[in-house]
């Protein structure tokens, strides 16, 4: 039998994988992909808890998260393209002009 805990643990693991991607990867596109992984991990929790509570609210929040993710991806990728035009690289470490 599968309990709510199974889904929550899965969601936690996925979220941690997403954070690892943000920490470890040095490619802007992969970092954006890792953020998508985190958003999806949260979605799993929402749907699972919604199922547990017997309401549709969890699915509705998932729906909103998806639309926000779409907006985020559009703007994020536009930024990536603009940055790539400047420096011909996707490494976040190359954009340090404002650091000192």
């Amino acid at each position: 039998m599968i309990s709510l805990n199974h889904y929550l643990v899965l969601s936690g693991i996925l979220f941690a994988i997403g954070t690892a991607g943000v920490f470890l990867r040095r490619n802007l596109i992969t970092i954006l992909l890792s953020i998508e992984i985190m958003l999806n991990a949260v979605n799993v929790t929402f749907v699972a808890v919604g199922r547990y509570l017997g309401t549709v609210d969890g699915q509705i929040i998932t729906f909103f998260v998806m639309t926000v993710a779409a907006a985020e991806a559009a703007v994020g990728l536009a930024l990536v393209i603009a940055l790539f035009r400047h420096r011909e690289t996707l490494s976040p470490d190359a954009f340090t002009l404002l650091k000192w």
Binding site: I2, G12, I13, A20, R25, R26, L32, A74, V75, T96
Partner: protein, 171 residues
């Protein structure tokens, strides 16, 4: 083990392995492909959770729209592998600490959730029919959450304009 449990473990394993692949992969194109696989597995999990609408929107919005956008950008920039032009700002130590932190997060989350005590899903057919019904979701979105829905539409419009402005080549 019933079918539900087998389904859960299969989809969960696919989702975790594919997500690991996304993070570990050096080729962005392969990362995008693996993320689509992961999203497909999550859609399968939503079906197991009696949320077919979420499963289908997951495929339509995430796999069908957002990932195509990523694919486009990867194709457009044609940056095959990770560029090692700039040295990591935080040095190699920073990466190690990052890896440690995310591992710590995973351990902490799993540990915390394991102390929660097993919580079972209800099996009332009326409730299940209620949450898997698309018309219920529609009613809730357009009545209870109408304001949030309208705000999201404005958000999408703003981000669309923003994306066009940012990505446009300066004249």
């Amino acid at each position: 083990m019933d079918l539900n449990a087998i389904g859960f473990f299969v989809f969960a394993a696919i989702a975790v392995l594919a997500s690991l692949g996304v993070v570990a992969q050096r080729n962005p194109m392969h990362s995008v492909m693996l993320l689509i696989v992961s999203f497909g597995a999550l859609a399968g999990l939503y079906v197991l959770l009696d949320a077919p609408f979420s499963a289908v929107t997951q495929i339509i919005i995430y796999a069908g729209a957002i990932m195509v956008l990523f694919l486009f950008v990867v194709m457009l920039l044609n940056a095959h592998t990770e560029a090692d032009a700039a040295p990591p700002v935080l040095g190699p130590r920073g990466m190690q600490i990052g890896a440690l932190l995310s591992m710590l997060l995973a351990v902490e989350l799993v540990w915390g959730l394991s102390r929660l005590g097993l919580t079972w899903f209800g099996n009332d057919p009326a409730t299940i029919a209620n949450i898997s019904s698309v018309s219920r979701i529609g009613l809730a979105i357009f009545t209870t959450h109408a304001f949030a829905f309208e705000v999201t539409s404005i958000l999408i419009l703003v981000s669309m304009v923003g994306a066009v402005v940012i990505a446009r080549r300066g004249q």
